[in-house]
Structure formats: structure tokens, C-alpha cells
């Protein structure tokens, strides 16, 4: 479920050497990188041909033969015959034109769509602020609490003149962002405690943490989601209920906590022993030592793998499809349930995939850049 590889060794970056003057210029470059031998030339030609064919095929399908909109009859049913007549030679983007608001915001009241839209913007802003190094200190905590509160107010409403929207009607991209972000916000403190517990000298605490981490990492996320869906209700006293989305959120937090704990533990282990010993020598208590000396250093080194882990969760939230929660992917699938639009799955998946791609690509580029940056001092 998760694609987190803990402790992936850093790839040593190749140091740039300036080329001799005789080897500069496009022709020399091509000779060196594309046509360095007969085998290389053959491979280049074959690959080049395939790329051109694929790109042209895609352009034909996605742009030249594509249909961007279709008429809608008096009963509100779209006339998709023109799309069906393409027989797959062109994309029917009309499904996206027609359904994009449903895919993005689900069954949220139509005239209130500006609220989830604003929520998405707030989330993006929150990510950007968190990515800026000047905020890497305690100010992030109030920023997160403030933004998440604002998001809650916007989604639910009921105050400041906003009409109340029950949680059953939320859907689409905000659900994906909520599950991933709230998951991280709660799983992160949990994971720090578990990681510290796993390295603790106290056997009972250590055993608890090891059992928790290994148990969660040994089973697929989907089994936890099933548990949230059908078993949680049995765990609670009679008459007490937690809503379906919250149950899924709890499952994701427990899941994320175990994986993040391993990331944080790797950070704790990467600190030289001298740091611990120096803190002990100064007579700091365990919590002083951890809070002032160890965590600030350890967390800084694990930010890149932390972002990678977050990318994993961001994608994994799509699994709530299986227990019937209305996230981005579910909304996309539901959009093509309507018979007029059945059979245009590829277009919808491309659209939904692009949204995921934009988020994940930005985050992975950021994490790669950060990793290179943080490793600067190690390079000589």
C-alpha cells in the first residue's frame, strides 16, 4: 500500500566538471550522448521513432480528433453519440467539461462550490508555506492549526452565515486533501512518540512500539480500512458512533504513524552518538535532551523521506474508494456511472491522474531538491 522505502541510501550526486572546449556544442553533445557507437545509434533511432509515433498518436487522440463538448437535451441528458462514433480514435473530453465540477467537489451543494475550491487553495498554500525553510520552527504549529480550523469552518459552515453542509455531502479533491493532510498532522506527533519509544531503554514501551509498527506495516492498508468500515462500530459502546469519514481517517492515521515512525527512527539513528552523550553530560533530562538537542537535528535530516512518505499517503488515500468514501478517484468513477457517459473511463482517469500527478510531482521535485540541498555540507 505504501511505497515507502525506509533508509534508501542517498545517491551520491555526480559532481559537474566543465567539458573541454572541443566537446561543447550541440553536435558534439549529440555525438557523445546519442550516437556514440553503432549500438547506441541504433537504440537512439529506434527510441526516437517510437517516441515520435507515441507522441503523434497521443496528440491525435487527445487534441486533433478530440471532442470537447456535446449538446445536452431538454431532460438534462447529454447526447454522447458523437463521442461514441469516434470509436476510440479521439478523446471525449466532453465528459470532463461536463463533469469536472462533480469530480472535483462531489455532491457538495452546487451553488456553494466556492467553499471546497477555497479549501483546496488553502491546502496548497499550507503546503507551500510548510515547504519554506524560514517557517521551519514552532510558528508552523499555529499556522497548521489555524489553517485546518479555517478549512473545517469552510467545509461544515453553520457559522458566519455559511449554510451548514453535512459531511455526507462532501466529496472529491477536498476529501483527498483532508485525508492526506489531517492524516499527516496527527500521524506525525504519534510517529515521533513511537520512534522515541522504539529507541527507549524501557522494555515495556519498546515492545509496545515494536509490536505496533510491525503489525501495521505487515498488513495492507485496505485491511485497516475494512476494519474501520465494519469493525470500529463494534469497538465502541452502544449508542456511540463515529462517522465513516472519521473512521477512515483514524485508520489512515494509524497506518501513517507506523511508517512515519520508521522514517523518524532512521533520523534518530543517523545522529552521532556524541550528541546524546554531550546532552547527557550537560545534565539535561530525557525530555530536555530530546526536545532541544535530538529532535531538531533528527527531524531536519528526515524531511526529504518524510515528503516521500507523504506522497505515498497522498496516493494511498485513493483506497477509500473500496469502502465507499467519496474522494477524488471515487468521484471520477461515479461521474461515469451515468449511462450517457459510460465507456469514457480513460478520459476520466487521465483527468484524475493529472491532478494526482501535479501534486505528487511537485512534492517529489521539492523533496529531491531539498535532499540535495541538505546534503551540501557533506560534499567536499
Amino acid at each position: 500500500m505504501s511505497d515507502i522505502t525506509v533508509n534508501t541510501p542517498a545517491i551520491p550526486a555526480q559532481s559537474a566538471r566543465s567539458a573541454p572546449l572541443t566537446a561543447v556544442g550541440p553536435i558534439a553533445w549529440m555525438r557523445a550522448n546519442l550516437f556514440s557507437g553503432w549500438l547506441s545509434t541504433a537504440v537512439t533511432l529506434v527510441c526516437g521513432y517510437l517516441i515520435i509515433r507515441a507522441v503523434m498518436g497521443f496528440v491525435d487522440w487527445a487534441f486533433i480528433n478530440a471532442i470537447w463538448s456535446v449538446p445536452v437535451d431538454g431532460r438534462g441528458i447529454a447526447q454522447t453519440q458523437a463521442c461514441r462514433d469516434l470509436h476510440g480514435t479521439g478523446a471525449c473530453w466532453a465528459v470532463v467539461t461536463e463533469k469536472h465540477r462533480f469530480m472535483l467537489f462531489g455532491t457538495y451543494p452546487y451553488e456553494q462550490h466556492w467553499r471546497p475550491a477555497l479549501v483546496c487553495i488553502l491546502f496548497v498554500a499550507l503546503y507551500i508555506v510548510s515547504a519554506m525553510r524560514r517557517f521551519w520552527n514552532w510558528t508552523l504549529v499555529p499556522i497548521w492549526i489555524g489553517t485546518l480550523t479555517a478549512i473545517g469552518i469552510l467545509m461544515w459552515g453553520g457559522v458566519f452565515g455559511l449554510p451548514y453542509v453535512p459531511q455526507e455531502r462532501w466529496g472529491g479533491l477536498p476529501i483527498t486533501l483532508i485525508l492526506a493532510t489531517f492524516g499527516l498532522a496527527f500521524a506525525f506527533p504519534l510517529s515521533i512518540l513511537v520512534a522515541l519509544g522504539r529507541r527507549s531503554n524501557l522494555p515495556a514501551i519498546k515492545v509496545l512500539c515494536v509490536v505496533y509498527v510491525e503489525l501495521i506495516r505487515g498488513v495492507p492498508l485496505i485491511s485497516l480500512l475494512f476494519m474501520a468500515s465494519v469493525m470500529f462500530p463494534l469497538f465502541l459502546p452502544e449508542g456511540m458512533n463515529i462517522d465513516k469519514l472519521l473512521r477512515a481517517q483514524i485508520a489512515i492515521i494509524l497506518f501513517a504513524g507506523a511508517y512515519l515512525a520508521e522514517v523518524v527512527r532512521a533520523g534518530l539513528q543517523s545522529l552521532p552518538k556524541g550528541q546524546y552523550e554531550a546532552a547527557d553530560a550537560m545534565g539535561l533530562s530525557y525530555w530536555q535532551k530530546t526536545g532541544f538537542i535530538i529532535l531538531p537535528q533528527a527531524l531536519r535530516t528526515v524531511i526529504p523521506p518524510l515528503v516521500n512518505t507523504f506522497i505515498g499517503f497522498f496516493k494511498d488515500t485513493s483506497l477509500v474508494l473500496i469502502i465507499g468514501i467519496f474522494d477524488l478517484l471515487t468521484a471520477g468513477k461515479t461521474a461515469i456511472v451515468e449511462p450517457a457517459w459510460q465507456g469514457f473511463g480513460i478520459e476520466v482517469y487521465v483527468f484524475v491522474g493529472l491532478i494526482y500527478l501535479v501534486f505528487c510531482f511537485a512534492m517529489s521535485k521539492y523533496s529531491a531538491g531539498l535532499e540535495a540541498d541538505l546534503n551540501k555540507h557533506r560534499r567536499r
Binding site: 451543494p109 455526507e168 455531502r169 522494555p203 465494519v230 449508542g239 461515469i336 465507456g343
Partner: protein
């Protein structure tokens, strides 16, 4: 592991012993938790929570404004009107075939109105009660017309799409065994998914309740391309269900259903219910509409409960005509016993 952090089992054992001491009171507290009746809980909450299908045309489907429409959802509204005199005092919780029973068992929903078949094991070992049968259904098959199949027996060797976790797939295997029909199953969890597999031609036939087949068929761009085979291989009495042991609430659900049937028997409709409440001289009608007697009080609701339900939703026939006839499900055996020899029949309002 360094020597200082080596396990000390003595310490561990001590910790466990203290834990046991500390957690004792927590459990004692739990055992004393009271359990109230569903009816009281609903009244205290002010809304009815109704488990419905995630989207099945004619039974429960959100329209383009996100309002739930359908036969099953109208039953939820009817119960809400009986309790609160307000059709909007109901929350619909979409449930999948998988989590519907847990949702009801756990109290996440008060009543499940989700075309669910009444079976012995659901009535007993799952701990439910089925107050009424509001729709008599049966399992059938749908095939593409181009396949040229006229009877279910011709399906020998076919690939059949079926949704798991329902009575449907067990009926299918029973039927196949009894008729010596070999088939290749394609078992897909989600309704949309299984329908799209059938439409895409992954399967030769799709099997589910005939009402579901009709709903799916009518939703296709060209319904005439699909044929529902005449064979019906099972009995599927569908109806709302509640938790076992909740007799007062079960009574209410049951009599809401009978009220809707009786209203049709008496010819009382949304249009004429006001008139009937004032001037209809038949004693049973007067009792049912709350002009006479205290039937409402016996159920624990307002005397005019039935009149209000009919005023806003109509009688059984009207609900049926509004939701199910447009998608091509004729009344069939769900017609009234008294007038058309069907199976729907209400005990006396007395």
C-alpha cells in the same frame, strides 16, 4: 542492542500486574452503560438516519441537486413524517452491500431501507427484524439482444457477472447446480463496476434482482439492446429492516408500510387525502387518518400520522408509480391482493 536496554522480564511482569489493577474500574464502568430504545434515540436526535443504496435507479439515487430519490428513500421519508411531521428530518447514509449490516448493527443507521432480502439467517444470526415486505422481487438474468439467448438454460458455458456478498451469488450457484449449467463467474464488488463490465462485454449475462436489471436496462443509452430473460430463479422479498429487540420501532415501520397499502386499497391519494380526512364516512378510513380512535397513540405517534404521509408522498401505488414505473418495472405481483390479485395486502386498521 546495548546491555542497558536488555529485557528485564521481571520489570515487564510487574508492569503487567499493575496494568491489570488499573484497568479494572474502566471495565466496570462500561458494563453499567444503559441501552435505550431506538425510538427514544431518534426522537432525542430529531432526525431519522436511514441506510440506503449507494445509487440504484428507482430505489435510491441522488438527483443532480444531490437530493435522494427513489422507492426506498420514500419509505425513509414516510417514517420521518410519522415521527416528526417533516419529510426533511431524515439523513440518508449510503451503504455498500458489504457494510450495510454492520451499519445497522452498530446503530450507525436506525433503519436499513436498501432492497435487502429477508432470509432466515439475517433474521436470526445477524440479529435483525424485517417488519414488512414492501417489494416482492426475484432474481433474473439480462443478456445482450445480439447474443440471441431466449432462456436462462441456454446460458450453459456463458460468463456471468455477479456482485458478491449478496444472496444473488448463492442463488446463482444453487440454480446452476440444479440445472446442470456450467458458467464462468466474474465477481465484482461495486455495482457500477459490475454493470460496466457487463456493458463492456466482459460477461455474456448479468444477474441480479429483476428490479435491478430493469433499472440498469432502462438506464442504458439503448435499452432495447438488452433483454431480461423470462426465467426468475429465486424469491427475493425485499423490505426495510431494523435491529432485533426493537419492537416499538419495528411496529412503526411495519404500520407505515401497511398504511401506505391500505390507503391504496381505500383509494386515498395525495390529492384527495384532505377531503377524505374530513368527509370519508368509512370507519376504518376515519381510524387510519386519525379522525376517530387512538391508533396513532398506540404506535406512539401523532393521530394524523398517516394523513400526513399520504399528503406528502402519496399511497403505495403512487410511490411505486413515481419511482419504479418510469424505469420499466411493472406492478406485477406487487399489485394489491384486494383489487388485482397481487401479493400486497394490509391487515385491518383497528
Amino acid at each position: 542492542m546495548t546491555s542497558t536496554s536488555r529485557f528485564n522480564f521481571l520489570r515487564l511482569a510487574g508492569a503487567a500486574a499493575v496494568t491489570a489493577l488499573l484497568s479494572g474500574p474502566a471495565i466496570a464502568q462500561q458494563a453499567a452503560a444503559p441501552s435505550g430504545s431506538t425510538l427514544d434515540a431518534i426522537r432525542a436526535r430529531g432526525t431519522l438516519i436511514c441506510g440506503v443504496n449507494t445509487g440504484l435507479a428507482g430505489f435510491a439515487q441522488p438527483d443532480s441537486q444531490g437530493v435522494w430519490r427513489g422507492f426506498d428513500t420514500d419509505y425513509c421519508r414516510a417514517i420521518a413524517i410519522a415521527l416528526f411531521n417533516d419529510a426533511s428530518k431524515v439523513r440518508f447514509v449510503p451503504t455498500t452491500a458489504q457494510n450495510r449490516f454492520t451499519a445497522l448493527q452498530s446503530g450507525e443507521v436506525d433503519v436499513l431501507s436498501r432492497n435487502t432480502t429477508w432470509t432466515l439467517s439475517r433474521d436470526t444470526s445477524l440479529g435483525f427484524d424485517f417488519p414488512a415486505i414492501n417489494f416482492y422481487d426475484g432474481q433474473g438474468f439480462m443478456v445482450k439482444r445480439s447474443l440471441g439467448v431466449n432462456a436462462a438454460r441456454d446460458l450453459n458455458g456463458a460468463t456471468i457477472c455477479v456482485q458478491p456478498g449478496t444472496t444473488t451469488e448463492q442463488n446463482l450457484t444453487d440454480w446452476a447446480r440444479a440445472n446442470r449449467v456450467q458458467f464462468q463467474p466474474v465477481v465484482i464488488e461495486r455495482l457500477e463496476e459490475v454493470v460496466s463490465a457487463y456493458v463492456a462485454g466482459r460477461c455474456d449475462a448479468y444477474t441480479t434482482d429483476v428490479s435491478g436489471l430493469a433499472a440498469t436496462r432502462s438506464a442504458q443509452p439503448r435499452p432495447a439492446d438488452h433483454v431480461i430473460l423470462p426465467d426468475v430463479i429465486s424469491k427475493e422479498p425485499l423490505g426495510p429492516l431494523v435491529r432485533h429487540g426493537d419492537q416499538r420501532f419495528a411496529d412503526l415501520v411495519r404500520w407505515v408500510h401497511f398504511g401506505l397499502i391500505a390507503a391504496e386499497e381505500f383509494g386515498i391519494t395525495a390529492a384527495n387525502v384532505e377531503e377524505a380526512a374530513r368527509s370519508d364516512a368509512r370507519p376504518e378510513v376515519q381510524r387510519m387518518l386519525g379522525r376517530n380512535g387512538d391508533l396513532g397513540q398506540m404506535l406512539g405517534v401523532d393521530p394524523a400520522w398517516m394523513a400526513r404521509i399520504i399528503r406528502s408522498l402519496g399511497n403505495y401505488g403512487e410511490i411505486y408509480a413515481r419511482n419504479l414505473e418510469p424505469i420499466g418495472i411493472p406492478r406485477g405481483r406487487n399489485a394489491l391482493w384486494t383489487t388485482a390479485g397481487g401479493l400486497q395486502y394490509a391487515p385491518p386498521f383497528r
